[in-house]
Amino acid sequence: MRKLTVPLLVIGLFALLIGLAYYDKIDLYTQSVLMFMGINIIFGSSLNIVNGYMGEFSCGHAGFMAVGAYVSSILSVLFFAQDRVFGAPLLPPQYAIYGFPIIVIIAFIAAALAGLLVALPSFKTRGDYLAIITIAANYIIISTIINIDAIGGPRGFMGMKSVIFAMEDVVYLPWMLIWVYIFTILSIWAIYRFVNSTYGKGIVAIHQDEVAAEIMSVNTNKMKLVAFMFSSGLAGVAGALFAHVLGYINPNSFNILKSTEALVMVYLGGMGSLSGSILAAILFTFLLELLRPLQIIKWVVIPLLLIILMQFRPEGIMGNKELSDIFPRLKKFYQFK
């Protein structure tokens, strides 16, 4: 029974959320904040695989998000919407409900493949030099998108909203909220399973001593490949959801500043702490909304808060601990390590 507590709780909360949204108990603004929260959770915790658990310093995470966002948007517009460039939908729009999860999975694969751009150099390069490669990869992806005119180039790409409307025409539900939280839960689940297996702990071994990892039979190149591709793939999922929630994307929304947001979430939460990343993502999204009235000063206050936090708690909110380490009684219900 206890084994089921967490899944039941998650499903209960999920159903409650959807119910509240369906009966208009939470307004559209709150809904969008909640959706961005979910997206940020995926975005932040996926970077934690590489930066926290594996100890590399990837600062171009938004590039992979861009890949996911564009691939999914193009596919969903191509298949389910009338578009100026792509013409009539290839499939009847009412199939969008079934098509969307497949599109998100394709976005995962595409972003994971883009992750090779960083994963392959990581065999030979590490540390600060790898950080540069990730920054360069981020810029390369963005400028590639800018230079493809068919998908809007610097003007951006839109039309995803009509796909969402098509889903709502079939069954009236808050579809994007549902998708965002389904994929958030799946992502966390996947990361949790990965980092808690002996297989996945290989990346922690690489972090702590790469030479020892290699000599004790960990195939470090393969592990790096898996970690980078898994991490960037999930960023692609976050990107796909982001694109469909907003209904409009442009290449510059995935620049280094967006990557910085992911970094902030990872280090705010603590390197190598999954619950830390989740908490940090929630906190960060709230903070952004809370400080919205300050307009541009928001981007002075948030970095300032972070610098102050770093001074007093340099290891982030959670350090490398999990919630269950801090509240041992939680261990009865779930094991996070």
Partner: protein, 255 residues
Amino acid sequence: MALLEIKGLTQYFGGLCALSDFNITLEEQEMVALIGPNGAGKTTVFNLVSGFYTPSKGEIIFNGQNIAGLKPHKVTSLGIARTFQNIRLWHEMSVLDNIKIAQHYNLGYGLKDLFLRTKRYFLNEQRIEKEALRILEVMNLREYAQERPSNLPYGLQRKVEIARALSVHPKLLLLDEPAAGLNSADVKELIQLIKWIYDEFKITIWMIEHQMTVVMNLCQRIKVIDFGVTIAEGTPEEIQKNPKVIKAYLGDGTI
């Protein structure tokens, strides 16, 4: 057939010849030492055997297979394990995890099983855990399973490192200065431990060591190198009397 046969192993770093024409043959169940003054190229030999460097020339034949140039993790899965001069444990995870992660050569499940939590995943994780606990039990480390290595005294860390190396079921165990940094009581214990491992696991042990008590107590054969060149080989008694060895260690007295 010999377990390990090294023929004409040569290694250059840039223009520097770190090791030249190194030959050795290790039989099954043997305890051999490699000694020599600092910078003689001993660790280079181990790094070549364990796959960190690709040799400039020469063959390393292990169990009938040339392993020269293989990746370290491949070499380990073939049955060569090693420890390091300065202890290289993963200091921020438990001793148990240290041993478990060393089972990467034989996980028995893949990414699909991991994400879907198939039966295969659970069975293999259980097997790995049991195996790791067994090794800790055998090595008398069971009580430290949940400790972090950085919290353990140096002697125990050394022991954990040896346990980790043994956990991959090696046929050949390379010990790089196992007694470095230990006090005399610890050294005595270490000698007992190595002797016991040798008898219990029936494996070949090849060690680099500076402390003569360890070498003289344990090894049947000793090989001495200096500046990358073999200068002597023989039983401990022979080596102790060899004038070349004395000269290499103490200088030739013509000051």
